[in-house]
């Protein structure tokens, strides 16, 4: 019998609702008209005209049309009787009802349709909740930054804003409800036995400014209500919306306002992003490396800092050379394990020329980062506590955590004494010796003879991100993304690129040749 809930927002103004209520075939019609005024208080009016007809024997058509205003209290027969007795009225509200009833001298006999407003003690079953209280209150008071957290892409649009308000998961929408009811009761031995059925629920939420009408407004499909009394009666009813239309001036105002909002957003966006998105140049691969030196532990002395250096092999460039070297702060260990926290972040952009991919050896030369852990003792004695290195895993975009074990150089007791008294900071030429020494060309590596001591460990985290025009959607074409490794995808285009480049070089050379020829011709003529 009921439709799904249909929510309608009331950002502006007059809306009217008609409820047509009919018995059997188009018999009773109740037209309900709701209208809301431009002020904050919304009002609905329902007009009911009732017509009664019964199919079988006596055709009595019961047809009712009523206009209901928002929170307009219409009394049922039972309510009239109850409130007219002064002894029954205790609260303010009830007293007011009593006054209303006593003042109302119209002898309208159509008690069928009435309403319950907010404050009357009427609850629909499913609304009775148990534990609400604390959290709900807090949530409701959340000045829900009804941040038009627009995804930033769309211009402000009325409809999407409405849907967002409705679907906002944060705010529990407590609605001020008004119930339009019909009473099918009968007189039984002098007392009126009520048989109230709920026709329509109208709810309004102040925070999100949503007016909810359930069941939905309908013109064509009727709602059927079955009443089980001695004879079964079937009622059809319609809910019609017939409010005054939004006056034109206000609508125009609204439109200009929306346009202003959109313009402002566009201006803001333009300030933030002054140009189109900058892509890396054609045949380059950009690798963003974000590295964090997290902590270190197990070193001999307790006041330590870390110094790092990035060494790039051939084919790799970086425009910000400042970030290739760095140093963390000095930190003192707190416990016996010598755990020291750094939390030192650095980021660097490395560029790789993709044309080098064609040659076999180039890509295998990956950038290295070398770490030196140094301690500062009393009297400015700096000692090397540990050395380690890592090959930056730039071949794929990912995050890696490493626990690098460190060692340091030692030789004999004399060198240890030197270390203790003077400090042996940087007692080596080139830190890259600990990995593959710079420019090492032979095919065996021999470090035998150098004595080292194992010291503590260093914990770092590396994030790598790739960017290249090769990965753009339109260039990928039909290449299946998952089946190829990044280098393979880059490599296949590198081949094409080198061909392209050769052609371009050829064109350039040809042009130069033609120019030269022309120049010579000119000279000869002269």
């Amino acid at each position: 019998m009921v439709h799904d809930n249909h929510d309608m927002t009331l950002e502006s103004l007059d809306r009217k609702l008609k409820i047509r209520f009919s018995h059997n075939n188009m018999c009773e019609e109740i037209r309900a008209v709701e209208s809301t005024s431009a002020t904050n208080k919304t009002q609905e009016m329902i007009k009911i005209k009732e017509d009664n007809s019964c199919q079988a024997e006596k055709p009595e058509t019961l047809y009712l049309e009523k206009v209901f205003g928002w929170q307009e209290k219409v009394f049922s027969k039972e309510q009239k009787e109850y409130y007219s007795d002064e002894r029954n009225c205790f609260t303010e509200r009830e007293k007011e009802y009593h006054k209303l009833i006593s003042e109302d001298f119209s002898e309208e006999d159509d008690y069928l349709l009435f309403s319950y407003c907010t404050g009357d003690e009427f609850y629909v079953d499913h609304e009775i909740m148990g534990n609400t209280a604390y959290l709900e209150e807090r949530l409701n008071n959340l000045a829900v930054g009804r941040s038009n957290i627009s995804d930033g892409k769309d211009a402000y649009d009325y409809n999407t804003s409405v849907i967002k308000s409705i679907e906002n998961p944060l705010v529990r929408n407590t609605f001020e409800n008004m119930y339009i009811m019909a009473d099918f009761g009968q007189n039984f031995e002098g007392t009126w036995l009520k048989n109230e059925k709920l026709l329509c629920t109208v709810g309004y939420n102040k925070q999100s400014k949503i007016l909810r009408i359930s069941p939905d407004i309908t013109n064509t499909q009727r709602y059927v209500l079955k009443i089980h009394t001695e004879k079964e009666r079937i009622f059809n009813y319609y809910i019609e919306h017939c409010s005054n239309n939004v006056p034109e001036s206000i609508e125009v105002n609204e439109k200009t306002l929306i346009k202003k909002i959109n313009d402002f957003e566009a201006l803001k966006k333009e300030k933030l992003f002054p140009g189109p998105f900058k892509l890396p140049p054609r045949n380059k691969l950009y690798v963003f490396v974000f590295m964090e030196i997290c902590s270190a532990k197990g070193f001999e002395y307790s006041d330590i800092f870390v110094q790092y250096q990035i060494k790039l092999p051939q084919g790799w460039f970086s425009s910000d050379l400042d970030h290739m070297k760095g140093r963390t702060h000095l930190c003192r260990a707190a416990d016996e394990n010598g755990l020291v926290h750094f939390g030192h972040n650095m980021e660097i952009l490395l560029e790789y020329n993709l044309t080098n991919l064609g040659q076999s050896n180039e890509y295998s030369q990956l950038p290295y980062v070398y770490f030196e852990i140094i301690s500062k003792g009393s009297w400015n004695r700096y000692r090397t506590e540990g050395l380690c290195y890592l090959q930056i895993p730039i071949y794929s975009s990912r995050t890696l955590t490493h626990n690098l074990k460190c060692f340091r150089f030692t030789k004999n007791p004399i060198s240890e004494m030197r270390r203790y008294f003077i400090g042996d900071y940087q007692n080596y030429d080139d830190v890259s010796w600990i990995g593959i020494p710079n420019g090492y060309q032979e095919n065996t590596i021999n470090k035998y003879g150098t004595e080292t001591i194992c010291t503590g460990e260093l914990n770092i985290k590396i994030n790598v991100l790739h960017q290249s025009q090769e990965f753009l959607e339109e260039r990928r074409g039909s290449i299946d993304k998952s089946s190829k490794t990044m280098l393979e995808r880059l490599g296949s285009s590198a081949l094409l690129k080198s061909v392209e480049q050769v052609i371009q070089e050829f064109k350039k050379a040809r042009k130069e040749m033609l120019d030269a020829r022309k120049h010579v011709a000119d000279i000869v003529i002269d």
Partner: protein, 183 residues
């Protein structure tokens, strides 16, 4: 390369050893690679001998951070490269370990178990009480199965290494690494 060859680049380091080290002992290691007949070494370090690492506390990890960097070219996955590592404690053999290089490109952390041969004769057995430790003339032997049924070994610890594997041209030949090839 469309002539059926693919390139595998192996780069990494032998990080540390987990053997029951005694304070004051000194370890060094060496590694070598062994690959099938279709594999050729394009460049890099084929073999290496590390520096000497001294141990300060009992049961400390023996840290080498010894670099490995090698590029192979092949037409056939048969004979995928293996690394044989020999660990020495002063002049005495501590253990041999062998492992295949990882196949999937990416960052891998390997734990290679070490084992050392036991004496095969009675005289040798008596010699162990006096410090005799048999060694293999050619550790590369361990990369194949030749003679495995004749060698008796005993466990002696672990070597931890990390490798970064990069391949080129492999997938184009129709091979499949498995689910997440793009790591």
């Amino acid at each position: 390369m469309s002539d059926g060859t693919f390139l595998i680049s192996i780069a990494g380091q032998i990080e540390y050893l987990d053997v029951m080290s005694a304070a004051g002992s000194a370890y060094h290691c060496k590694y070598e690679f062994h690959a099938g007949p279709d594999w050729t070494i394009v460049g890099g370090l084929e073999t290496g001998l590390s520096q000497i690492a001294n141990v300060v506390n009992n049961n400390d990890k023996v840290v080498f951070n010894f670099p490995v960097d090698l590029q192979f070219k092949s037409t056939n996955p048969f004979g995928w490269p293996q690394m044989v590592i020999s660990v020495y404690k002063e002049m005495r053999l501590e253990g041999y370990g062998r492992t295949h290089m990882p196949i999937k490109p990416g960052n891998h952390h390997l734990e290679v178990n070490l084992a050392r041969p036991k004496a095969s004769s009675l005289l040798g057995y008596i010699g162990t009480f006096f410090g005799y430790q048999p060694q293999l003339l050619q550790p590369k032997l361990l990369a194949s199965t030749a003679g495995s049924n004749l060698i008796r070994m005993e466990t002696s610890g672990k070597a931890h290494m990390t490798f970064n594997i990069v391949s080129q041209g492999f997938l184009r030949l129709g091979y499949d690494y498995g689910r997440s090839a793009r790591e």
